[in-house]
Amino acid sequence: MKTRTRNGALALLAAATLAGCGGGGKSQLEYRVTVTNLTAGQPMSPLLVAATTGGAVWQEGQPASVALEKLAEGGDMSDLAREIAANGGVGGAAGAAPIGPGASETHTFSFRRARGVTLTVASMLVNTNDGFAGITALPISDLAVGESMSRAVVAWDAGTEANSEAAGTIPGPADGGEGFNAARSDAPDAVRIHAGVVSHDDGLASSVLGVQQRFDNPVMRLVVERLR
């Protein structure tokens, strides 16, 4: 298991959001977030972990933001991290490398006490057109010190790119194709639960994916512990 510890968190978020964070005082909250990739053949892009106060980062049944589209189609979380910061994100952490199937990753982050803080975690399933694992606006401020909770995280379809599974359209190692493309080619253009991949092994001859890229929910296990 890889472990990264960052107090004060992701540089992208830190400058904009940790105003008033004197650092190290008794009013600091500290959380440890551990994710495990539960899929057989879907590496997950570098993890976005953010404590937010601005509400949900995506809404089922609604179009994805362009920033979320960039994460879901190309595994690039940087715009989403900036947006969360601009909307009052209060701290977070981010992965530096993809998380392989079966692998786990832990982030520890802290921030000054704030009411109504929720957690958002997101990561692309890189062998898909626009699938991502994630949970948004998970309330964490009621966790007591020493307590932990776990969640089974499902795969979402960003609804921004058709699930053609065609060569050249998937950025992960199964294809090495295109990441983000601003065109919205899926219908409905709405975030929803991913229907899974079909693959050429299951009759979609034009698919670059095989049986090893198929997945079912849940795709990720999330454990949140409050350390102080």
Binding site: G61, V154, D157, R192, I193, A195, G196, G203
Partner: protein, 237 residues
Amino acid sequence: MARKFMAAAVLLAVGAAQAADLEISVTNLTGNTYFTPLIIAAHPAGSHLFQPGVAAGTAVQAMAEGGDISGLEGVVAGAGGQALSNPAGGLLAPAGSFAVVPLSTTAGNTRLSLAAMLLPTNDGFVGLDSWTIPTTPGTYTVYLNAYDAGTEANTELMNPGAGGTPGVAGIPADPGGKAGTGGSGVVPASPNDHEPNVVHIHPGILGDTNPAGGASDLDSTRHRWLNPVAKLVVTVK
């Protein structure tokens, strides 16, 4: 003073256990599957719209094969429950939701259940069985799974209109208009012995990529889903 406040809080909590003002919304989380008119019911513990592992009755069969909830409305009324029928005013489209609807439950109706047929399927439905309505005010989210009524073989063959009659094989409609024709059938229509004849989790759609033949009339790239298929949000006031 503090003691008085606590007593009032306890009374409020007891009151909520007896009757509750709820606000309900549902979102269809699939990409190409429609929900027929929903039935959402508050009812006493011990009564059910359906039960996993138990054979579907005629009311569940009519809902799951043809989207007809009138039988289930009778089941709810017979149990002393309260039904919220067709809150979406017709089909609930993929990724769609309806405006929040109120439901004021009466004493004893402490459980919430939900059912609606999934189109296009043979006898698939989105369901919630006897969820305990929380007594603490707040907003609660429940993700719902797709069930198979176990009453009709999953042939995945279209039979427009007629297929909605209980006992008649075939899928009555694909509101999205993406289904094909000419399939040979994923499984034989009769006997329905490829699945347990009780309510179970739907195994999902097989589909194929041949709109004018193949085994299935459904499209493997469009008509599949993974659970959960719906999000239910209940606000307890």
